[in-house]
């Protein structure tokens, strides 16, 4: 069977590349020198979609609710092997809460006829909520934290969810459905510089509120019931004793601490 798959992705500051620091007035994080990338979970979702289509036929469409610079991550996913991509951007979308983002994505999903909708299980800067909300809005079954997908006869999937202790919960789920993808489900393919170059000049179509049929009052700041008030760094007790000095001095201090604990005789 052909699988028409929609994958929802997001541009986030890459935690491996950045120290996240609160801005001086606490209204945001310092964004001046941030390195952005595709949210890690989303990248696994795109890889899973591509593998499913490679095996069963169909196509992969990638969408992102983001600012005008989010087209770069769509192009990256096109370089990875997605067939089409749309950026969902409109002034009315800015400062949407999770519910607003899910509503925008739901309108995008209704434009096509998708068998499967994938999101990352969570994002670095968000709340692990959009996939479940999107599924409920579209009235399709949903499962979160998915680490295995097998296509079965009769328009259904057999999936494994990762639950506590690394145990797997096996479910059967009818298509069409939505799944949130957990990291480790696959090994996302490497996108080389040649692949990036190939899609560098692709114009990513931008869809706004009017094209999607989104009522601006229901999304963005206007529709948000949940708002971020500020950013701060919590006080968490004393914290660690941070060793000082040269590398050698720190190593010797640490050895002394470990000896004190009887680790080293």
């Amino acid at each position: 069977m052909n699988m028409e798959i929609l994958v929802c992705v997001k541009k986030v500051p890459d935690p491996a590349e950045n120290e996240i620091v609160v801005s001086r007035d606490g209204s945001d994080i310092e964004r001046d020198d941030l390195v952005y990338s595709v949210n890690e979970w989303d990248n696994y979702a795109v890889e899973e979609a591509i593998q499913l289509v490679e095996e069963h036929g169909g196509s992969v469409t990638v969408v992102s609710v983001g600012d005008e610079e989010s087209d770069e991550i769509i192009r990256r996913e096109l370089a990875m092997g997605a067939d089409a991509g749309n950026l969902l951007d409109d002034e009315a979308f800015h400062y949407s809460d999770g519910r607003g983002v899910a509503a925008i994505l739901a309108h995008a999903a209704r434009r096509g006829s998708y068998d499967l909708i994938l999101t990352g299980a969570q994002a670095e800067d968000a709340a692990a909520q959009v996939g479940g909300m999107l599924a409920a809005m579209l009235d399709v079954p949903y499962a979160s934290l998915v680490v295995r997908v097998r296509v079965m006869d009769g328009k259904k999937l057999k999936i494994a969810r990762e639950i506590d202790g690394g145990n797997l919960e096996i479910n059967e789920i009818d298509l069409p459905c939505a799944l949130s993808i957990q990291t480790g489900i696959n090994e996302p393919r490497y996108v080389g510089i040649r692949g990036i170059r190939k899609t560098a000049s692709v114009q990513v179509p931008v869809l706004g509120a009017a094209q999607l049929g989104v009522d601006p009052a229901t999304v963005g700041e206007a529709g948000a019931k949940v708002r971020k008030l500020d950013y701060f760094v919590p006080e968490m007790g004393e914290g660690a004793e941070i060793l000082q000095g040269s590398r050698e001095e720190m190593a010797d201090q640490l050895i002394a601490r470990l000896k004190g604990r009887g680790v080293i005789q």
């Binding site: 899910a102 909520q129 996939g131 479940g132 909300m133 934290l145 639950i163 660690a240």
Partner: protein
């Protein structure tokens, strides 16, 4: 206005999860004098035991028994809750693998607000609640305002609120007759237990744990050499297993193993709550990380802010040369 406050009780083998009493103490912030209702869904004898257990601490317990709820399939639980919850209810549930499955979609169907992974909150004022969440793996926190005038679903982080110790006992009400058709497009089949590995990290006293900061598969050897020098074994955080550099049985965290070593060396591990959730027994924690803002330094006893790829080989060499 006064909202009716509910908690959803996760349970297994006839016992309420530890989260239940934490949810009760979080619920008290929302409803200092008002009643709190515990909702327990399930089937059979185990369900009754959990209801009785909750009734010893909570003024009102709603028992919702149905064969399709024997295993907590989030899709079926959601249908059930949508039918029994009054409008504008505020529902607290645990931010665990069931809560993540259930909460977001439930809030849509109830047409109420949703905030996940809450670590703190203050009493509501003028129909709005102020909550605290973390972002970027705990590097920063945010205050979030949530309009609860139309009700809310809030998922609560494990361990963020103390377990309620002085709850007054109450009654179990069987509300099962309110449950309608629970047939849904997702069916639970079975649980597959995690495979055992070649070492059992849950029994080790010294763990040298590798995280994302180890950067490359070949560098796992750096952790192994240190573990050898200290007489411990290598464990790891999730990204290392995702990259298939070590087997799943070596992973410390809520989605991996719960360990209780005496000494824990965290090499290039940022210290997300999912990772720390697997670390019990108050070990002596040494953190090596080049990011001085990494949350692991908040919980570690000793910290080294340095590139582990440089520091750890030097440390190992100096330990070995002192023998």
């Amino acid at each position: 206005m006064v909202h009716q406050v509910f908690i959803y009780v996760a349970h297994r083998d006839g016992q309420a999860a530890d989260s239940a009493l934490e949810l009760l103490s979080a619920a008290r912030i929302l409803s200092p004098d008002g009643p709190v209702t515990a909702i327990v869904t399930g089937w059979g004898e185990g369900l009754d035991r959990v209801c009785q257990e909750m009734a010893s601490r909570c003024p009102e317990v709603w028992k919702l028994a149905h064969q399709d709820l024997a295993y907590p399939n989030a899709e079926a639980v959601r249908k059930c809750l949508v039918e029994v919850l009054p409008s504008e209810a505020v529902l607290l549930l645990a931010h665990d693998t069931l809560g993540m499955d259930l909460g977001p979609g439930l809030s849509v169907k109830l047409n109420s607000s949703f905030v996940s992974d809450v670590v703190a909150m203050t009493a509501p004022r003028d129909g709005a609640l102020t909550l605290v969440r973390e972002e970027y793996g705990g590097q920063v926190s945010t205050h979030v305002s949530c309009d609860i005038s139309g009700g809310a679903v809030l998922s609560i982080r494990s361990g963020a609120f103390p377990a309620l110790e002085d709850g007054a006992p109450g009654e179990v009400q069987d509300r099962s007759s309110e449950i309608g058709d629970l047939a849904c497009g997702r069916r639970f089949l079975e649980i597959v237990e995690a495979e055992a590995g070649d070492v059992d990290i849950t029994k080790e006293e010294i763990l040298v744990s590798a995280g994302r900061g180890i950067e490359d598969e070949d560098n796992i050897e750096i952790a192994e050499e240190l573990a050898k020098a200290l007489g411990g074994v290598v464990s790891c955080s999730r990204p290392i297993v995702d990259a298939k550099w070590l087997e799943k049985a070596r992973q410390v965290g809520t989605s991996g193993k719960t360990v209780k070593p005496k000494i824990y060396l965290a090499l290039g591990i940022s210290g997300s709550f999912q990772h720390l959730g697997g670390l019990k027994g108050n070990p002596f924690i040494v953190a090596v990380n080049k990011n001085s803002k990494a949350p692991i330094f908040q919980v570690a006893d000793v910290g080294v802010v340095d590139d582990l790829l440089e520091f750890v080989p030097l440390l190992t060499e100096r330990i070995n040369s002192q023998r």
